[in-house]
Assembly symmetry: C2
Homo-oligomer: 309 residues x 2
């Protein structure tokens, strides 16, 4: 029974999550730590080591039962060489050869990639984009991330930086974006922007979850709020659909919980604005795997990586 | 010497061009007819047959010396089934099984595709995008066409409609586009739009070639004119670069002759607005193969198609 299991790790700005997955990508055990409790890179890496040890001991597994370790990171990553270029919202991670460090520490094969790319892989293999040829996945959160599956394979681009749908410009002029550009989709529908807007509209310290809840109860202002988010998103996806002609677009992340109103508006914009052939061939779907998509995608990456060696 | 040559055909709104290409895609002979002289589809197809016969006779070739016939068409085409869905600027071509009609007529294998896709294939195989992994090709004319090579293969999308970079929206509001959408790149830099603008600026019946000539001679207004075209183009390519992370973008078509000013402005916009990793890894190049790219791409398609059968 050598290497039946994988370790999946999802490093987020809020939580560091470590899981044990079986051969069918079922999560058998997990630990979750607060990312902010780590003062530096070194202590975070040490905690990963300890969590992996805990999980192995708890499940009476040895290193030889583990195929490998997969890590999803919120930032720019060199998938091939296993180097973290930089992370969004986590300091002290410039040009870190995390693959080498962890392989030495854990004595297991280590693979790493951008977290949204892994979510995309998971939704394509087991989730909402299953069976698609060409799929685009989006996560709506503080940042707006994207991943692309083309002809059945994760598309990385020439420097593993492809898929940044959050940084598709919506207008020729607009607000500065964290990426260095301006008027990017993220500046219109990133959580920080829309939360500010919601508080202005509702004149209270409202959460986005609450706006979603009110929309479900047909609150007029809440519906208008999410329609507006959907309008911007639909405008961005018009470009994506015209250029990539995908069969499915998967939308995940907290904001996607706004549900019907948001998805309805996106579909309406696409059918009114995108080219006929492309618009009539694309399905817009909510993500299926929720918060675990990153952990599952990490395990899928490990399996593919080990098989390709 | 069975099948050493290919017949390449490029059907445009202005000209119907038929050529004989050798195994290295060198054009050995050609005929050119005015597209407008044909009253209907039937007479145009008959003329193709006659031209192919002429070329074979002139070069003392028999059908058995020809590998196949490749046709590029300005419109939406079903590459797999060989059906023309519709053509831009040429009437009477709705849902025509051109592959079947021509195969019966010519007794040769026939392949057809969108003309910009074939230009892309040619620039990738023999032209400016040679050696690239991921390339985007654009043609600037009355329409703004696009083709995409990903991981060394022409990317078609789920209904062979991918690559419509001319229909990437530049703003959330703007002029109606022929595609049914609005504010598409084509509405900003399509020849008809910019020609009107040029005539307004120069207050004379000027041609785009003349504006290009004046820009080369450092005419201030002409430089500003092309800078403005380059600004819109650069804004659209910012989205393309952030999403596709290509190693090269090839720009062809008449307007591309504006040269230095246009290319300089596109590069400037990308370095100021696109994401750092993507912007620093992409080259912006003028197309190399000129008007013959479509004929060459048609022959490349034939070779690939015959080999894959």
């Amino acid at each position: 029974m050598t290497g039946e299991f994988c370790i999946g790790i999802d490093l987020g700005g809020t939580n560091l999550r470590i899981a044990l997955l079986d051969a069918k990508y079922k999560i058998e055990d997990r630990e979750s730590l607060s990312t902010r409790r780590f003062k530096n890179r070194r202590s975070l890496i040490a905690a990963i080591g300890k969590s992996v040890d805990n999980i192995l001991a708890r499940n009476r597994l040895k290193t030889k039962n583990i195929l490998g370790v997969g890590i999803g990171l919120p930032g720019q990553v060199d998938f091939v060489r296993g180097i973290v270029h930089s992370l969004t919202n986590i300091r002290g991670w410039r040009e870190v050869n995390l693959k080498r460090i962890l392989q030495t520490k854990l004595r297991l094969p280590v693979f790493l990639d951008n977290d949204v790319k892994l979510m995309t892989l998971a939704e394509y293999t087991l989730g909402a984009a299953r069976g698609a040829q060409n799929a685009v996945c989006l996560t709506l959160g503080t940042g707006v991330g994207g991943g692309i599956i083309l002809e059945g394979r994760l598309y990385r681009g020439c420097s593993n930086a492809a898929g940044e749908i959050g940084h598709l410009p919506l207008n020729e002029n607009g607000h500065r974006c964290n990426c260095g550009g301006f008027a990017c989709l993220e500046t219109y529908i990133g959580n920080n922007t829309i939360l500010k807007k919601a508080r202005k509209i509702f004149k209270e310290d409202i959460s986005l979850e609450e706006v979603s809840r009110r929309a479900r109860f047909r609150d007029h202002k809440a519906i208008e709020f999410w329609s507006d988010v959907g309008l911007h998103l639909g405008n961005a996806l018009t470009g994506v659909v015209n250029i990539l002609n995908p069969d499915v677009i998967v939308i995940g992340g907290g904001v996607a919980n706004a549900g019907k109103v948001l998805f309805g508006q996106v579909k309406k914009v696409l059918s009114g604005r995108a080219m006929r052939v492309q618009a009539s061939n694309v399905k817009i779907m909510p993500a299926k795997l929720g918060n675990d998509a990153g952990l599952i995608g990490a395990a899928i990456m490990v399996k593919a990586g080990v098989e390709n060696r």
